[in-house]
């Protein structure tokens, strides 16, 4: 056993758990951040997507020992400022407006993948958006409205 320290949504976290414990379990069970979901546990569905130093990762495939000293962002940290105002940020608003979330179980991971795409300067190009969320399975929407939502807040096409 040894402690692992990292930042989650801007706040320091320290957990004393085995190094091979999945980041997903640390978030959900040790830190109570249940917004991140498990869909398959083997890196296929993307429901557990979080940002690790700004990169999208499947938190079910990341052992906590690899998170030491790094920055984790989860759906709970998306729009912290907006949440304090009791509202949603533009990406969340866009999902709500277009109907990009149905059952909602893929939504947290989908939002994180979208966030990484948008932070990287992603445009409203539909094919590029589809590429960016190709690792995140959704069984409800047919993806049409998710792509629409991300395009709504992306850099407009020239």
């Amino acid at each position: 056993m040894s402690g692992f320290r990292f930042l989650v949504n801007g706040a320091p976290a320290e957990v004393d758990v085995p190094g091979m414990r999945r980041l997903l379990d640390v978030l959900r069970e040790d830190l109570g951040l249940t917004g991140t979901k498990e869909g398959c546990g083997e890196g296929e569905c993307g429901a557990c997507s979080v940002l690790l130093d700004g990169q999208v990762v499947d938190s079910c495939l990341v052992p906590i020992c690899q998170v030491e000293g790094r920055i984790v962002r989860t759906v709970e940290g998306l729009s912290l400022a907006a949440r304090e105002r009791g509202s949603l940020d533009a990406l969340q608003e866009a999902f709500l407006e277009t109907g990009g979330a149905q059952c909602g179980i893929c939504t947290p991971g989908m939002l994180m993948a979208a966030l990484a795409y948008l932070d990287g300067g992603g445009t409203a190009d539909g094919d590029a958006i589809r590429e960016a969320i190709a690792g995140n399975l959704c069984r409800c929407t047919g993806y049409t409205k998710i792509v629409e939502a991300i395009a709504m807040v992306a850099t407009p096409l020239a």
Binding site: E38, G39, C40, C103, G104, R139, V147
Partner: protein, 774 residues
């Protein structure tokens, strides 16, 4: 009968959205939020929404299932390895079941756990349960439970099985006379395999033992009262002792219709034995390996058609593979049989359908419920008839499609809301179907004419891929089949509480489709108040009446209708007590002065709708929804890989309550149908699913998904106060045949077995090129 098309452009949609609200009179308040945002959307988007596995119950143990590894065997004993320490776990077997060892549903054939001395009927069948404080202990001990068995001969071929779960015959006219009049008689055999619902949230259930000997279930489920009934029976407890609460549910698609009863019982048996809450959360592998799938089917058509392209005889045989237990198979087969002819009039029909037992995991409910299987066959077959007659797929459909006043094979006269022709016309015209077909035919002709590379059938030095376009038309009976709704006798309630709140009480569940949004929307519009003044109670059997299961696309139509009727009565009561005041001004004071008013609305049979379950004659459904799809595919001429580029979906839902949610149903259903058509397949070996992981059972990603365009049509149903006919299942019926027709249009071969994999397409091309009959 008015039929309206709900167009997509926002400026038009805004206008229509206003008109869609079922507001009586001119109450502005009810119109302000005509198309509300998804009610639980903000919670889902911030991670605050609690799904079952997100719930914390201090002191809860984890439960797991010990499953059979053989397809058919007698269980002679269960042995716990004496060399390991069992003191930190509880073990449950069939001997621990206090009531009947039955998962209560239609038939009483499925045990909660296989008893010693009983028969194991399929691989992954639950035999024993373990619970412990931590998952590591369970992982360690799981392999030390040994099942002693004597193997029995398994049956895997549904056609060869002599154990029949259900059979139906639907007949009308004179088949022999019909065939005698036919210009062309065409036979065809069509096969479809298993399909996994693949909700992204796996099955999840937590049981909390109560002090009264009862239990509270928190779970991911579609039908609280199905679970409630199963608990009472197997545990021998009362209605009050059994309490079922639906938590936020991450998709269902039918997969959480009947299986949650089994899982809840498992969790409860462990919880009662260890006297603490028990969590039963399936991982994806267990979920795919053990839970229900769409029924595989073989459908054979022998069809006669006249020289001018009119159907004169349909002889159809349907065989469905029920798997090891009957679950919902009799009803799935019934819906499959009733839809087997397709949405076409034909004077002489015989439909013979049977479902049998095989030693494979039970098949059950999945969006479409038997109809996607038989409508796939019907649609490919009518395309092949059109090809034989030299008619276009659109033309053969236009000549045969049901019109007002036509009769179905059960003798049901289609008295209203028949939008099949309109749906077909919109699909054909909007997609430019005939023009697209001319273009693809020209391309195909050019490729066949010159420069063909021998190894790649049809491949030329210039063209690596071929485009094709395909059309399918479908119908879907609204609500429960036959006398189902009458037997259900659903009840919904709307209450004005003593503290002046308006609350809807129903067992209808939200699983992503929009229940939590549309029911308050309907009631608010009826009462003339803003929709956020209307609360929706949590589906909790301790508080809500049994408004029936959330299945069969019945929530908007049936439960929505009951809510409107209840609201209408509530409004009349309140306005009656407060003369001259509209409800929205009167209700708060009314609650103070008169206390709570609770209106319960029971389902009343739709006038004039009658079905005889014994003879299969009459109105199989009160009304039908109609759907069409036009798919455009691109087929790689070297690899036969299919990319579905575009699907135009046209769906008549009776009444659009919420355009965005309704489109979401059509888009999602269409993609599930595209997956069914192209990549979703279960392979079996000795009764076990070989690809029982998400790494091997593939569903479409955003890159696999076509552009989906939706046109919503409204041909209202007079039996529902708002006219709605349901939407969820409609798109599932037409996507697959449209894709297969498009593949044919691209490369000239018919794929008669789903999914249309590259292997099957290449094999069909090879057969054609060697002159064999496809």
């Amino acid at each position: 009968m008015p039929i309206r098309t709900v167009a997509r452009p926002p400026e038009i949609a805004d206008v229509i959205a206003g008109a869609l609200v079922l507001a009586p009179g001119e109450v502005a308040a009810g119109r302000a939020d005509a198309m509300p945002r998804r009610r639980e959307g903000p919670a889902k988007l911030t991670g605050a929404a609690k799904y079952t596995d997100d719930l914390v119950f201090p002191g809860a143990w984890y439960g797991i299932t010990i499953r059979s590894t053989e397809p058919h065997a007698r269980l002679t004993g269960i042995e716990l390895d004496p060399a390991v320490d069992w003191s930190k776990v509880v073990v449950v077997t069939a001997a621990d079941i206090p009531g009947e060892n039955i998962v209560s549903l239609i038939s009483d054939d499925q045990p909660v756990l296989v008893p010693v001395g009983g028969e194991i009927q399929h691989v992954a069948e639950p035999v024993a349960l373990l619970a412990a404080a931590d998952r590591e202990t369970l992982r360690r001990l799981k392999g030390h439970v040994k099942l002693l068995t004597k193997p029995l001969a398994p049956v895997f071929d549904a056609e060869a099985s002599d154990h029949v779960f259900a059979h139906y015959e639907i007949a009308t006219g004179d088949l022999q006379a019909g065939f005698a009049d036919a210009h062309v008689v065409l036979e065809g055999e069509y096969r479809v395999g298993h399909q996994e619902q693949l909700y992204i949230e796996g099955q999840a259930m937590i049981a909390v033992p109560g002090e009264d000997g009862g239990v509270v279930i928190h779970g991911s489920l579609q039908c609280p009262y199905y679970v409630h009934k199963a608990l009472k029976r197997a545990l021998a407890i009362t209605s009050v002792q059994a309490r079922v609460i639906q938590e936020e549910t991450g998709g269902g698609f039918g997969g959480k219709e009947e299986y949650p009863s089994m899982l809840a019982l498992h969790a409860v048996l462990l919880a009662l034995k260890c006297h603490r809450p028990v969590r039963m959360i399936y991982d994806r592998h267990e979920d795919i390996a053990a839970t229900t799938k769409r029924h595989p089917a073989v459908v054979r058509h022998r069809t006669g058609i006249s020289r001018d392209g009119r159907l004169v005889a349909q002889d159809i045989e349907v065989i469905m593979d029920g798997g090891a237990y009957s679950t919902l198979t009799p009803v799935v087969l019934s819906r499959g049989a009733l839809h087997a002819g397709g949405p076409y009039r034909c004077p002489n029909v015989r439909i013979q359908a049977r479902a049998t037992r095989t030693n494979t995991p039970p098949n059950g409910a999945f969006r479409g419920f038997g109809a996607p299987q038989t409508e796939f066959a019907a649609e490919v077959h009518i395309d092949r008839l059109a090809e034989r007659l030299g008619l276009s797929p659109a033309e053969v459909r236009a000549r045969n499609v049901y019109r007002l006043g036509d009769a179905t094979p059960t003798g049901q006269v289609l008295r209203e809301s028949v939008a099949a022709e309109e749906v077909l016309r919109l699909a054909v015209e909007t997609s430019g179907f005939e023009r697209l077909r001319d273009e693809t035919a020209r391309d195909l002709g050019e490729r066949q004419g010159s420069g063909t590379i021998p190894a790649g059938v049809l491949r030329t030095s210039a063209t690596r891929t071929a485009i094709g376009v395909g059309l399918a038309l479908g119908w879907h009976g609204a609500g429960f089949t036959g006398s189902g709704e009458v037997h259900l006798a659903s009840v919904a309630a709307v209450e004005l509480t003593g503290d002046g709140r308006i609350e809807i009480l129903v067992a209808a569940t939200e699983m992503g489709q929009g229940t939590k949004t549309i029911l308050p929307q309907l009631v608010a519009a009826e009462l003339g108040v803003p929709q956020d003044w209307v609360d929706l109670a949590t589906p909790d059997t301790a508080h809500v009446p049994d408004s029936g299961p959330t299945v069969a696309s019945r929530t908007a139509m049936v439960v929505g209708g009951l809510c409107i009727q209840a609201a209408r009565r509530l409004k009349a009561d309140v306005e009656g007590r407060n003369p001259g005041m509209p409800f929205h001004e009167a209700f708060r004071n009314d609650a103070q002065d008169h206390g709570p008013t609770r209106i319960e609305q029971a389902f009343e049979p739709y006038p004039g709708v009658e079905f005889d379950d014994a003879t299969y004659r009459g109105d199989a459904y009160p009304v039908f929804g109609w759907a069409a799809a036009v798919a455009t595919v691109e087929v790689d001429l070297d690899t036969a890989e299919v990319v579905v580029r575009d699907v135009l979906a046209v769906d008549d839902v009776g009444k659009v309550i919420h355009r965005v949610l309704c489109e979401g149903q059509v888009e999602g259903g269409t993609l599930q149908a595209v997956g069914y058509a192209t990549i979703e397949e279960i392979k079996l070996e000795n009764g076990r699913y070989l690809n029982d992981r998400l790494a091997t059972y593939l569903i479409p990603t955003a890159l696999d998904a076509p552009q989906i365009r939706t046109i919503l049509v409204e041909a209202p149903f007079s039996g529902a106060p708002h006219g709605a006919k349901g939407v969820g299942e409609l798109p599932m019926d037409v996507g697959a045949p449209a894709v297969v027709a498009a593949i044919h249009d691209a490369v000239g071969v018919w794929i008669t077995e789903l999914p249309a994999t590259p292997e099957r397409i290449l094999a069909a091309l090879a057969r054609r090129d060697t002159g064999a009959v496809a």
